[in-house]
Assembly symmetry: C2
Homo-oligomer: 173 residues x 2
């Protein structure tokens, strides 16, 4: 099972995935959290932020996630993955792919600006920033959608975990 | 634990790693075999066969192996990894790295020529082929060395498994 947290910067992907990770660990589940930023450094150092490069980065992350998932681990991935076609490609390549759309309005995410990158993007100091001058294609039928501007982190995490419990009753019953 | 089978083409890395994989599976061990050729396609499509590209390929394979090993799986990797420095870098980055030197004289490997690539390299149709016109730096202190020209596959596999049993008595007791 691969659970992919997708959304624009500062939507709450990292926060939510870390919370879900901690709760699943506490429940005794064999779970791994893959960090999109770390993987970019480990397997995608050559890649930039063009569409082709972003898509290839997602394919590589998916390859790592797939290897892990094949061992029976629940794999959580937090990575923007802005393009729908490559998310769907990954969905078909992996078994039990779950798309969690971590959603909040752009204005809310920009106000949060966790890494200060929206600010830099508006100043033109960062180019090709998702949500500002690079597109984000929202999921059409995500398995779970969390509105992180309207829900508490507890509520969002609960939605994801409740979904996973229904999908994986033997693992998370 | 990551067990890396290194050696020149046709030395027997794939054959030996597959045998060890099958035996560990039969013993009930949680084990995964990573295929160097497949990983090149999955996470290293952009890379060629220069020293820098080969080294980066090995780093990426090691990142995947490391993620897997962190889940408690025994990871077997069959990949040439011709340069000593990057093998040592990987050794220090991963916990419980085991280097298996799959060794046979060049003339023997060339006579086997499993994929017909030595022939093409001698004709100049393949460039930068390890053992012909690209270097292979043998391990100086591998944990296990298998002389695949002098040992049967059973003997070689036994050496690897006996070593792993000593290193991982709880897993492979």
């Amino acid at each position: 099972m691969v659970v992919w947290f997708t959304g624009i910067p500062s939507a709450g992907k990292t926060t939510l995935s870390q919370r879900v990770h901690a709760e699943l660990l506490a429940a005794g589940c064999n779970v791994r959290l893959l960090d999109g930023d770390l993987l970019r450094h480990q397997v995608s150092k050559d890649l930039g932020f063009s569409k082709a490069d972003r898509d290839e980065n997602i394919r590589r992350i998916a390859a790592v996630a797939g290897e892990l998932a094949d061992t029976g681990v629940v794999v959580l991935v937090a990575a923007i993955a802005p393009y729908r076609a490559v998310r769907d490609e990954v969905r078909h390549k992996l078994k039990n792919f779950t798309e969690v759309y971590v959603n909040a309005p752009l204005a809310v995410c920009e106000a949060r600006d966790v890494k200060g990158l929206y600010h830099k993007a508006r100043l033109g100091e960062v180019k090709g920033f998702t949500g500002v001058d690079d597109p984000y294609e929202p999921p059409l039928r995500p398995e779970v959608e969390c509105r992180t501007d309207l829900e508490t982190i507890d509520e969002s995490a609960r939605k994801v975990i409740d979904y996973l419990r229904r999908r994986l009753p033997d693992t998370l019953g």
